[in-house]
Amino acid sequence: MDIATKLFYVFLGLFIVLNWGMLMSATMRKIGARIAGRYGIPFYQPWIDLVKLYSLRDSITHGVMFYLGPVFRLAGGLGMFLFMPMIFGSEYFSNFSFAGDLVLIMYFQFFGMLGMALGASEGAHPYSAIGISRGLSQFTTIEVPMTLAIISLAIQYHTLSISDIVAAQQGGIMNWTLFTNPFATIAAMLSLLGAFGHSPFNLVKAPNEIPIGPPTEYHSSFLGVLRTNAAILHVVEAVLFMNLFFGGATSWLELIIKSFLIYFWSVFVGVVFPRFRIEQSVQWFLKIPLLFGVIAIIIFM
């Protein structure tokens, strides 16, 4: 396949992912609204919001890093997307996945947060600083159980290629990592709660405490970029977990259903729990998910 076709399909995939991401977040908000007993936003609200954000006339800036923050963040999301095989067995939608893509994706996951840190600090708002320091410390602790789970997977499947891991899970539901390596799955799924940033682990943004953390000073198109990224990131993150633990997807439909359910997991927990304080959440991640992660490794040692 020549590079042009490849790029075309990458962009097509990106387009689908972006739109699905926005639809998914709107749906989740509607589900949350239902529990409260209301209708919630219209399905198309995220798109309008995005257009609105890009079309604001004023946008003050605090310096170069302020510009680059959202760009880095977007780079993190796009990076994850670019190296993530979306549809198993599809030549067109496997993007630029390669043998060691899992490591690169783990890196990109963190990269966005670092970019945010740079941008937020340029914004010079103390809430941004508090938020980002919380974000970084929480993300660091999320990484630990998640990495343990992935190491366990690597040991289990003897590979660091996502495609290979997905391939290994084909042939029936009982082949999914969920059943073959439940402890790693649990460790990863618990740390996923932190990665998605719903309560009880949403103290990074904590809207009624440090409004709203890192993006406090971000607005107009900057915020538009951040929101675009969030839409992509949520899907890609869900796809990563789908690939690693839930047998990947062989079609877009399967991808949509699975990523929805994975994302829903965090909403499911998030709606009914308040948030932890930062040291509580750090302690929690270093306790339960870590324990499962260690067990997962020990089993496959």
Partner: protein, 398 residues
């Protein structure tokens, strides 16, 4: 305070930070770089109303806190000095947005006491009902609101919905949704509409169910417990020292309730027990409020059962356009959902009050007490502490 002994819950002993100077004052040197000033409010979403906090933080910990108020100052006490007694009545209502009825009642009560007017029995019952409904609607917002500060928004949504239903009842009875302007010096402004009892019972049933749901969602919630138990502790010795009243005092084991201690209106004909808890932390205060919610529902049922069918709603008063109240002064109090709420009224015998001073519970809670409680608190806990005290800025600055 409960000690957490689990090794995973290890916490550094921060009590010696920041260092104190020899004279006992905190050694806060902003230029050292160890401290950051953090302003919260007035347009901060976590602040209860329009006020602001000036926090000096070191790490995640508050070392000094100052409350800034005055963003809502309208000079009520001054304005009422140039209004007729009857004109004070719509004015004073606005002193506390959350429960305006206590203002109406206290003004009416002061005026009646100073001029020696007895109000009809029916009006007394209706006043009691309205005050309890006011407490109900306020608690429906504040009980789940405690979890709301910790981003558990669902309970708030349910609560505010039910509060809306109570406001509908208010609208039927009084003609107003938020500012009811119902208790007028001399009586009240209307009888119960037809079928009111039935609709009230329907709403109360929904609230019963809500209490169960909120119990499951909030009070049996592990994260909520973790965030509130042992946090925001008020020493029992502070109660008198800081003038703490209402649920905040009751959560510390002090069974003080104006309704019981200084019965007014029809409260001595109603059957209720003063609620209390002993742990004196945020969780205990939440529990007290929840119990109070249950008690209020019960009280409203009792009132509805005992309410006479018919009766006068207003005692004859002098022509309100030139009502002169004899010289004198008095202090009347009532129990709002935040605690003792009182009016100190001075009349010089003219058509306008000489002075009306409001003693709001938030005045002490939100300033001296909050400033003390926030020291050594985590930034993340600042708002739950503030909300647990139920500070209401409009009544602080009036």
């Amino acid at each position: 305070m409960k000690k957490q002994k689990n090794i995973f819950n290890w916490q550094a002993d921060r009590s010696k930070y920041p260092e104190k100077k020899k004279n006992g004052k905190l050694d806060i040197d902003m230029s050292s770089g160890k401290f950051v000033k953090l302003w919260q409010g007035p347009n901060h979403p976590g602040i209860t109303g329009n006020m602001s906090l000036e926090l000096t933080i070191s790490g995640d910990e508050v070392v000094e806190a100052k409350t800034h108020v005055g963003y809502l100052h309208r000079g009520f006490e001054k304005l009422m000095e140039r209004r007729l007694w009857i004109q004070c009545f719509p004015t004073c209502v606005r002193m506390c947005v959350a429960e305006p009825d206590y203002n109406e009642y206290l003004l009416a009560k002061s005026a009646e006491e100073l001029s020696g007017i007895e109000i009809p029995e029916m009006a007394e019952w209706l006043r009691t009902l309205v005050l309890e409904m006011a407490r109900l609607q306020s608690l429906l917002r504040t009980v789940p609101g405690q979890a709301g500060t910790l981003s558990l928004g669902v309970g708030v949504q349910w609560g505010v919905y039910l509060r809306d239903l109570v406001l509908d009842l208010f609208e039927e009875l009084t003609g107003g949704r938020v500012y009811h302007m119902y208790i007028i010096p001399g009586g009240v402004r209307g009888l119960l509409p037809d079928g009111f009892k039935k609709r009230m019972e329907e709403v109360l049933k929904k609230i019963d169910e809500f209490v169960k749901n909120i119990e499951n969602l909030m009070f049996n919630n592990i994260v909520f417990k973790k965030r509130t138990i042992g946090v925001g502790y008020i020493k029992p010795s502070w109660i008198d020292k800081y003038g703490i009243v209402g649920p905040n005092a009751r959560a510390a084991g002090f069974k003080r309730d104006v309704r019981k201690d200084y019965p007014y209106l029809k409260y001595n004909e109603l059957d209720f027990e003063v609620t209390s808890e002993k742990d004196s932390d945020i969780f205990a205060r939440s529990m007290v409020r929840k119990k109070e919610l249950i008690m209020t529902i019960d009280l409203i049922r009792q009132i509805m059962a005992k309410m006479p069918k018919k009766g006068d709603i207003k005692a004859p008063t002098p022509n309100v356009l030139h009502w002169k109240i004899p010289k004198g002064e008095t202090y009347v109090r009532s129990e709002s959902s935040r605690g003792e709420y009182g009016f100190y009224t001075v009349s010089d015998g003219s058509k306008t009050p000489r002075r009306i001073n409001l003693r709001g519970p938030s005045y002490t809670h939100a300033i001296s007490l909050l400033e003390r409680m926030l020291v050594n608190a985590n930034i993340a806990d600042v708002h739950s502490i503030m909300v647990s005290l139920q500070t209401c800025p409009p009544e602080i600055e009036r």
